[in-house]
């Protein structure tokens, strides 16, 4: 993770230029459409994937980049793989294995929806800087306190990671070699140190903020201008299509 830049990839595509609040709403609508789609409408998931692939192409995001970042859903995929063995009911024979039909569908459902959700989120993250994302959320009246927490988490995660990395290098420089569990004591202690340091830093940050007149409200009128109707229309194109497909499957099934 490269700190507070997050997953943003600088660029000048139409997706990069859209107002952040429109993209947030588009992501939410798209995700709902995907989640609401019947799991047996396999063609619909293909259509959603095609929409996302087209948008990735439009935003000039390479496939390799998406694949590597998609690894975040690995735990879900493992669960999806386990379903055919864990769920009961009618089974189908695949070589030496007896697989539950219901479990296969449940696994597919999880795999398809999780992957599409991750891809859609990656699309937003890759085309929107963190600051713009926060401003967009502010524009959508996301509660102030949540925005403050997110802003601080993003800002200081980077610092904390840098600190952990430096402490690790300093340990290695003194011949620490924590390859085995019983050698992990030093690691645990340095994580403890990072925790205390972060806590103390929090206090210093508060002092620095109070010195500049902070009284509990972050002045976030730095947000973006309102999005035009054209921007909204452009942003909602893909999710509207997805919602249409979802409704079609609901009616047809």
């Amino acid at each position: 993770m490269n700190g507070a830049e997050g997953l943003f990839r600088p660029g000048d595509s139409p997706l990069h230029r859209l107002a952040p609040q429109t993209k947030v709403v588009a992501l939410v609508v798209f995700s709902f459409a995907v989640a609401a789609t019947d799991r047996e409408a396999v063609w619909a998931f293909g259509a959603y994937a095609a929409i996302l692939v087209a948008l990735f192409w439009l935003a000039r995001i390479p496939a390799g980049w998406i694949m590597v970042r998609s690894l975040v859903e690995t735990p879900f995929l493992l669960l999806a793989l386990a379903f055919p063995f864990l769920v009961g009911g009618a089974t189908v024979e695949a070589g030496p294995l007896d697989l539950s039909i219901d479990g296969l569908w449940a696994g597919w459902n999880l795999f398809a929806k999780a992957t599409l959700g991750v891809w859609a989120a990656l699309l937003l993250a890759a085309t929107t800087p963190v600051a713009a994302l926060l401003a967009g959320l502010a524009r959508l009246r996301c509660p102030d306190i949540l925005l403050q927490i997110t802003a601080f988490a993003v800002r200081y995660a980077h610092l904390t990671i840098a600190e952990v990395t430096q402490m690790r290098l300093a340990r290695l420089a003194r011949c620490d070699d924590p390859r085995f569990l019983w050698q992990a004591g030093a690691l645990a202690r340095s994580l403890g140190t990072v925790f205390i340091r972060s806590f103390e830093r929090g206090e210093r940050i508060w002092q620095a903020m109070a010195a500049r007149g902070y009284t509990g409200r972050l002045p976030l009128d730095v947000g973006p201008a309102a999005a035009s109707a054209r921007q909204w229309t452009a942003a909602m194109g893909a999710p509207a299509l997805a919602a249409g497909i979802a409704m079609w499957t609901a009616v047809a099934m």
């Binding site: 600051a131 926060l134 800002r155 010195a211 500049r212 009284t215 730095v222």
Partner: protein
């Protein structure tokens, strides 16, 4: 009336450590004063008191005609601009411009007026072209200038800098000195960097064990080797006070 008046200020931390023990310090408007002292002398504690960030155990601090108390905190914090030692503690907004706007926005400045203030403060410190970068992508020198801009944007009456030269390379150090000379007519420079104090401040005080133990023109203090040695202060190796003073005169 003094720009800043510290009278009999004492501070005892909850663990019983007495960090300040009857500090007396008065600064006139337009005066630049260095607060010198070894590590642990109470310099940072004193600085936190100047913006009412700690509560005095005894004594009082006044900024202009205002004595620091709960009721006057907001105005005091506008008048006293503190640049903290670690820019990482001070710069926390997503972009430099947002961060510089944080103080004035807290004062209720909005919209176009806010943008103007931010632009002016960034121009003062020479960072206009980095306004939309995240602060942690800047060099330490740039970060410190951004932190100064965040304070200047509040139009303070007095600027307080905590170890501004720490971790700066010589060129960044010189840049910052020039900017402080231009933008902070009334300055309290908290440091143990003696040459920097000489370069920026006509007057200096030595703080040791929570007390002001010397108060004189900076050049005089730096010339008194015995006084410096008593308070664990030292000029850098090879530094020539005479050469420095003559280059200041030119």
């Amino acid at each position: 009336m003094k720009a800043l008046d510290v009278a009999g200020l004492g501070h005892v931390y909850p663990d019983g450590h007495r960090a300040l023990d009857g500090v007396e310090l008065a600064v006139d408007a337009g005066e630049r004063v260095a607060v010198l002292g070894p590590n642990g002398a109470g310099k940072t504690t004193l600085m936190l008191h100047l913006a009412g960030l700690l509560e005095a155990t005894e004594g009082a601090v006044s900024v202009g005609d205002l004595r620091i108390e709960k009721r006057t905190l907001a105005e005091v914090r506008r008048r006293v601009g503190i640049v903290f030692q670690s820019p990482d503690d001070q710069l926390f907004m997503p972009t430099v411009a947002d961060d510089v706007g944080f103080g004035p926005a807290n004062l209720g400045v909005k919209g176009e007026a806010l943008r103007e203030r931010v632009a002016a403060a960034l121009a003062d410190v020479g960072l206009s072209d980095l306004a939309h970068r995240p602060p942690h992508h800047l060099s330490v020198g740039q970060q410190r200038r951004a932190a100064l801009a965040g304070v200047l944007a509040m139009r303070p009456d007095i600027v307080v800098c905590d170890e501004p030269s720490a971790n700066l390379d010589p060129a960044a150090r010189r840049d910052l000195a020039g900017i402080l000379q231009r933008t902070a007519p009334t300055l309290l420079l908290v440091t143990h960097d003696l040459p920097y104090a000489l370069q920026l401040c006509e007057r200096a005080v030595i703080l040791d064990a929570g007390k002001v133990v010397a108060d004189a023109p900076t050049a005089e203090i730096l010339a008194d080797a015995a006084l410096l040695a008593r308070h664990r202060l030292e000029l850098p190796f090879g530094f020539s006070l005479e050469a420095a003073r003559s280059s200041l005169r030119h």
